[in-house]
Symmetry: D2
Subunit: 284 residues, 4 copies
């Protein structure tokens, strides 16, 4: 069987669920999963479904063409169609911290994370040995005030060369340029080490310590031009107390960051995230 | 508009979603919510949907008749149909502990819980004053070894008299008889003060303390003939440590019990729980 | 036995633990609990201990006098001494929301919360019937722009008359004046319906919804002149998703607020909170 | 400065805290951390303290001798004394699952876990390449019904040769023999993939799925002769629903196991776990 994932959004309208499910049914497909959501305030309809077709009977291109020539037009659907077995190419950008990198690589190695990782890129040389340990190409692209423009062009070149489809900032610690964001809209996933919108920007654990909070968090989000303000994919928290120093916050935070980032990656890779109005719909 | 809740289960079959959604569409209904689940192992299909019809155009009886004479038969559907605005009659059985009772009554009073509470019943007289405080009839039905049969008949009589549809055991502390369970299958909701299946039966906090666990829990489930073994609706936990005495476990447990039981009641009252094979499907 | 709670803070200094524990030992007291904390950055020492003395052998006044004339002076101790059995007088300020009020009253009624509640005060009349239901005096002190000063004087008068020691703002929804804050420094406990420092001020659930967060929270803190910026006592969170409307946020938030506020009250009443530098030390 | 960790347990007795803190004070030590716990039911006293001495002024041997000849005897103390900077030798036993292994090695590599790992041992060859990747010796000790005795002797030989002090069963999947348990009492740390005491033994995720629980857990504990019944060090849980298959339980469980085991290892390595009566005291 071929399994496809179809993600739809369109204006909310009567009979839309019946229309889409009928379409699949008529094409001899079998729906094995459906989840939908209506934003009543904005009158928008969102749907994610997985459907099976007999192997070779209905290619992704045929599916897409059939949608375009029928209900997509009629109902004003925006949609994304994916082959469920396809493994997206995901680049890892890192800096000097290794905990998220190790975590992603272990999940990659043990097939938990169904992606291809064509390379690891860093502005520092420190983590090259880990890349080597896991037999993954490593690009060292240093960034200074002076060479920022050139460095970004080099990054884009490498991304294009490897046909990368999404980028993970696994504690990359550098501001991403609008050019790169534009080329990978809603495809650059960052992990921020605070419970956003509290403590955006640099040194959030220090700020959390200063404020005397009893809970710290981590947030994974898509990168937009406004710093740490993109659509939130996943958040999680852990308890702290007066007993914990800033170093303890950082150590506890490492576990949070690992868990939150890897959860967000799973959701993204499995096409379960839909973005609109700077928010996300996360399908089950 | 009239809003109905339709809960379905049937053998899984191709095109079932299209069939049901089409049916609603053809009757001029608008689906405002749909959630479904397929148990692939047992080839069973479950669906919960909410749909709106123009007021007076399609009564609950008409809806039911239309289903029966068409797709229900054809697709072997078992279904429950509810008027969304209807408030079920829910009896409260208590013993001597008041924390769950207070919690339910406060939610009832502030309209959080959309039910009618025709009475509170207890084998002890201790909580009568709370019933009085909230202007709810109180029945005192003492239970002894000798009078158990007679007491149960009295309970059934009171339940029938008030046309009760579901029963909450808000720390009732008595074994429910098979007769009562049969009359209210999957309609008696209990709160057990442990993380089932750990520590069923009496004194679970004592057992948890003895075992030295680091987490304690509470479980809300439908009552079946096997003690504390019915379909689980909701569970939650809280952390404990060596610092906590059994009394601390009990105190912390009270908060758990309140939260877990009230969550389970909300799910039940909103028709979001489907029971099969001694498990529950909980719709979103 | 008489049991006392002794909370100490002083400059950190060598031998301080030995000194204090020796002092108790020499006075024939038995330490039944000790917890301490050193803030190394600021070189401050904090300790909470509970100790027992033979009944009538060492009154609170004697204890205090003995401390003052010996180690308190020598080691520059600031301390608070409490009789463990004493129930503080706690006033409840409410507005129109009843969920925190019901929760506190239920815990008060069932002796979970070891306080006296001399009265409930509100700027609205809505919750008077609940006060009546629980046989607690109710003061209606309306607040308008024009009468604010006079209303506060009336509040202070009532508080003084009842010898109130701490105030709970159980969703009181009014800004507290500096005069009242000064009279009850670190003794006014507020519940704010967000995960501070995210979303201070009005309508935090709306802001959280707008931002698309995946977790919402509640925070209990002492009231200081800066709005929602006082020392945090307790925080907790719950998960939300795109499926939840603002109304759902508010409903889920009610459970959070209940739990967080009642936890904070327990900590405060049991003298487990020490405030310094706008942060709290929470003893176990 | 030399920093020592002193863990004490003894019969509870008046003045014990003053006695111990005085002892340190008189030896010119400075207490930088103290935590204690009294089990009132069993009249037992537990204490963990960290204290600093001028370098070279008071060796661990001198400390121990001084204790033995004074308060240890007088107060019937059992104690353990550790040099805080010492890194214990920790052996890793694995089978075929790699997720806990990767997690521990990443933390070891990034210095989060202050141990030496002299070797990895497995009954299967599958994970040898990971050991190689991290430059850690790998021993393959196959186990069959026939060679079990011999295999265990070989294990003990390897453990002795490397002067191993504690063993981590990172999903080792084999029953440990009484001989090995006796040689490493309270020094073999297992991760069990359920919320003990629910679902001990084999296939706990399958049992949890069958029972329809809404929460699954993982438990790290010291290995004792009774299977999965040893003193619990750490537990954690995650929510599941009817949507999750057994495979989903296993995948979610992997994250739990990683977090729970690594937390337990930190507690053990930092000498924060005291065992008695098949329970643990976990110091802060």
């Amino acid at each position: 069987m071929s399994t496809y994932i179809l993600n739809i959004n369109c204006p909310d309208q009567k009979g839309i669920i019946a229309t889409v499910t009928n379409f699949i049914h008529q094409k001899s497909g079998n729906i094995v999963y459906i989840d939908q959501y209506v934003d009543r305030e904005n009158e928008l309809f969102f749907m994610r479904l997985e459907c099976e077709f007999m192997n070779g009977k209905f290619s992704k291109a045929q599916f897409s063409a059939a949608l375009d020539s029928s209900i997509a037009k009629q109902y004003n659907l925006e949609y994304d169609l994916y082959d469920k077995d396809y493994r997206p190419k995901m680049a890892l950008f890192v800096s000097k911290y290794d905990h998220c990198l190790y975590d992603i690589l272990a999940r990659y190695q043990s097939k938990e994370l169904a992606v291809d990782i064509p390379f690891i890129l860093s502005n520092h040389i420190d983590l090259a040995s880990i890349a080597e340990r896991f037999d993954i190409p490593f690009y060292h692209v240093p960034i200074t005030k002076e060479n920022k423009n050139k460095a970004e062009s080099r990054q884009l070149e490498i991304l294009k060369h490897h046909k990368v489809e999404c980028i993970v900032l696994a504690r990359y610690m550098q501001i991403i340029s609008p050019k790169l964001i534009k080329a990978f809209t809603n495809k650059i996933i960052n992990i921020h080490h605070s419970f956003l919108p509290a403590f955006p920007g640099a040194k959030p654990y220090h700020s959390a310590y200063e404020r005397g909070v009893k809970i710290i968090g981590a947030t994974s989000h898509y990168v937009t031009e406004e710093l740490d303000a993109g659509p939130i994919i996943e958040q999680n928290i852990t308890q702290v107390s007066h007993l914990h120093s800033i170093e303890d916050f950082i150590a506890k935070g490492r576990d949070l960051e690992r868990i939150v980032l890897s959860k967000a990656l799973q959701l993204h890779v499995n096409r379960k995230v839909l973005v609109y109005k700077n928010k996300t719909v996360i399908f089950s």
